[in-house]
């Protein structure tokens, strides 16, 4: 009975999500919704290494940039479809994640976080100062403009926003499915265990470094796909926006505020906070420079102070209040808490 209700709710939600483009007809609003879903997607991708495995990456902008630049450089120069290019971009991101992870995942403490910061700062500088790379035009600080070919599904260029909406919706479902698979598989158990205590995890036969590397690779690949989507949507890559610190920290932010280490936390955090940020900007953006950012910051602060386990834990409590003592996802690792 309970299960049926849940399933019904899920189907209803999916139908509503599929019908959104018919209800939201103004392209601006649809664009806002697309960006919210993109942030939810990126936060969920970060969550695989940052939340499940508990390895704080402060440089995921590296992977969005790698995915976006590699794919678009291949497209601009050789006309290779982004549908194929995204695999090359994804592979390049995976390679970089291994280069960062392999030397640092064996170490304790903040080394991984520091390495991600250092390398992402380096990448921003490199992109900003590189105009040509072999046959490819990178664009340097002026940015890379995606070559326009008119409406084309192969090039992922559409004059309407609707195809982008369905694309990012599909990607979001994909990352949720991947997260669900990780969480319920051996890998997920190993990741949460090593996040809790590396020594105990190793004593129970878990190869700590390899498990972290696998999580980092999956996370990098998914994040790179987000970068490709950004590139085809915006059609202009500005080094600081796609690779910079704000891109990297935003993913961390949304994931932690939403509830890192859970499947739905980063999704909820990404959609809700992006929406709030956009609404505040819409109404207050023109009045006082930076006011909307300040208010946004206060909201984030309040969530962290009063609900450090994330919005998803708060929602869990609310659902529990209305449906009786039924276990719901929530908490640091999203496990059932029936203890006192």
């Amino acid at each position: 009975m309970k299960f049926d209700k849940k399933l019904l709710l899920l189907i209803g939600l999916v139908v509503i999500l599929l019908l959104v483009p018919m209800m939201v007809t103004r392209p601006y609003f649809l664009h806002v919704i697309i960006m919210c879903l993109l942030w939810a997607y990126l936060a969920s991708s970060w969550n695989i290494i940052g939340g499940f495995a508990g390895q704080l990456s402060l440089g995921h902008g590296i992977y969005t940039a790698t995915g976006a630049y590699v794919t678009m450089m291949l497209f601009n120069t050789f006309g290779i479809s982004p549908w194929l290019g995204l695999f090359v971009g994804g592979a390049a991101a995976v390679l970089i994640s291994v280069l960062i992870g392999f030397p640092t995942f064996g170490l304790r403490g903040a080394y991984y976080a520091l390495a991600t910061v250092a390398i992402s700062e380096g990448i921003v500088v490199i992109i900003n100062s590189t105009h040509e790379l072999g046959p490819f035009s990178v664009g340097g600080a002026e940015g890379l403009i995606v070559k326009m070919v008119g409406d084309s599904a192969a090039a992922l260029q559409f004059s309407s926003k609707i195809p982008y909406y369905y694309l990012i919706l599909f990607m979001l479902f994909l990352v949720i499915a991947v997260s669900y698979w990780i969480k319920t598989s051996k890998l997920g158990y190993c990741l949460i265990a090593l996040k809790e205590d590396e020594d105990a995890a190793a004593a129970m036969g878990i190869n700590v470094r390899n498990n972290k590397l696998i999580a980092a690779m999956i996370s990098a690949f998914m994040t790179a796909l987000g970068g490709v989507f950004y590139a085809v949507l915006i059609r202009y890559l500005e080094p600081n926006a796609i690779a910079g610190g704000s891109m990297s920290t935003q993913m961390v932010f949304l994931s932690i505020v939403g509830g890192s280490g859970t499947i739905l936390g980063p999704v909820i955090g990404g959609i809700l906070l992006s929406l709030i940020s956009e609404v505040i900007r819409f109404y207050l953006g023109g009045q006082l420079m930076g006011l909307h950012l300040f208010i946004y910051g206060v909201i984030v602060l309040l969530v962290i102070m009063y609900q450090p386990r994330g919005i998803v834990a708060l929602l869990g409590q609310i659902v529990q209040r209305f449906s009786g003592p039924k276990t719901v996802e929530g908490g640091v690792s999203g496990v059932k808490d029936s203890g006192a």
Binding site: Y189, I192, D199, A203, M204, G205, G339
Partner: protein, 242 residues
């Protein structure tokens, strides 16, 4: 009976301190051996050498006649040695069942299989009722049980127990002794570090005494406890004059 574990001339130096000094000892398959000694005698260090947390300065660790010196802790676990930690290390934000499942994944990749193994082990150690409780909500005796359960889940041939009886009240102690004995009767060889001497004597047929990293005595509980050197190590030189 064959030797399941052999330590040959095992030595480790931390700077100027020799924590374990030319330790030679062995375990017979199926036996329960106690490792005792004053604080700082090198007992836990010896455990850490066996499971690969530390690499020895010299000497060898043989498990089932195979040289496992230099293997990483996770590899030693897959060879068939389980260990508990003196300061228990539960995965606090996972339930009891999930904690044990992590260990079971050493032998299976399927969550269903791991859940089955966890269920059997919870039954064995008496944590069935706490199945869905987060580990950080457990009491100390329960945490010690969980610590053993996690090690058992990896299906070890040899189980290293580091002070699992410390801090238990008499009733809990009795139950824990019963549990360790039954684990041993299931065919799992046990090596335990313990300060509670009565309990060690109740479980172990043989005891090894360490002092300043050296083995100073070995034998049955009766032999060891009447050994003057052991008494000296525990109570000091002045004891003779009494």
């Amino acid at each position: 009976m064959s030797k399941i574990l052999e330590l040959k001339d095992l030595t480790i130096k931390f700077g100027g301190l020799t924590a374990v000094n030319h330790l030679n000892m062995h375990l017979e398959e199926g036996e329960a051996l106690g490792l005792i000694g004053p604080n700082g005698a090198g007992k836990t260090t010896a455990f850490n050498l066996i499971v690969g947390v530390y690499q020895p300065t010299s000497g060898k660790v043989l498990f089932n006649s195979e040289d496992i010196t230099g293997l990483k802790p996770y590899q030693v676990c897959h060879k068939g040695i389980g260990r508990t930690f003196q300061v228990v290390k539960p995965f606090g934000n996972m339930t009891v069942e999930q904690n044990i499942m992590v260990g079971a994944f050493a032998k299976t990749s399927s969550p269903r299989g791991a859940r089955q193994i966890a269920s059997n082990i919870m039954e064995k150690v008496g944590l069935q009722a706490k199945k869905n409780v987060l580990a950080h909500n457990l009491t100390i005796p329960e945490r010690k049980r969980l610590e053993m359960a996690k090690a058992l889940a990896t299906n070890p041939q040899l189980l290293l127990l580091d002070e699992v009886l410390a801090g238990l009240n008499p009733t809990e102690l009795e139950e824990a002794i019963k549990l360790i004995k039954s684990i041993n009767e299931d065919g799992i060889t046990i090596m335990m570090i313990e300060h509670v001497l009565q309990a060690t004597m109740a479980i172990c047929s043989r005891i090894v005494v360490l002092d300043y990293g050296r083995k100073i005595a070995e034998g049955s509980p009766q032999e060891v406890t009447s050994n003057p050197e052991v008494i000296k190590a525990y109570l000091g030189d002045e004891y003779d004059n009494d």
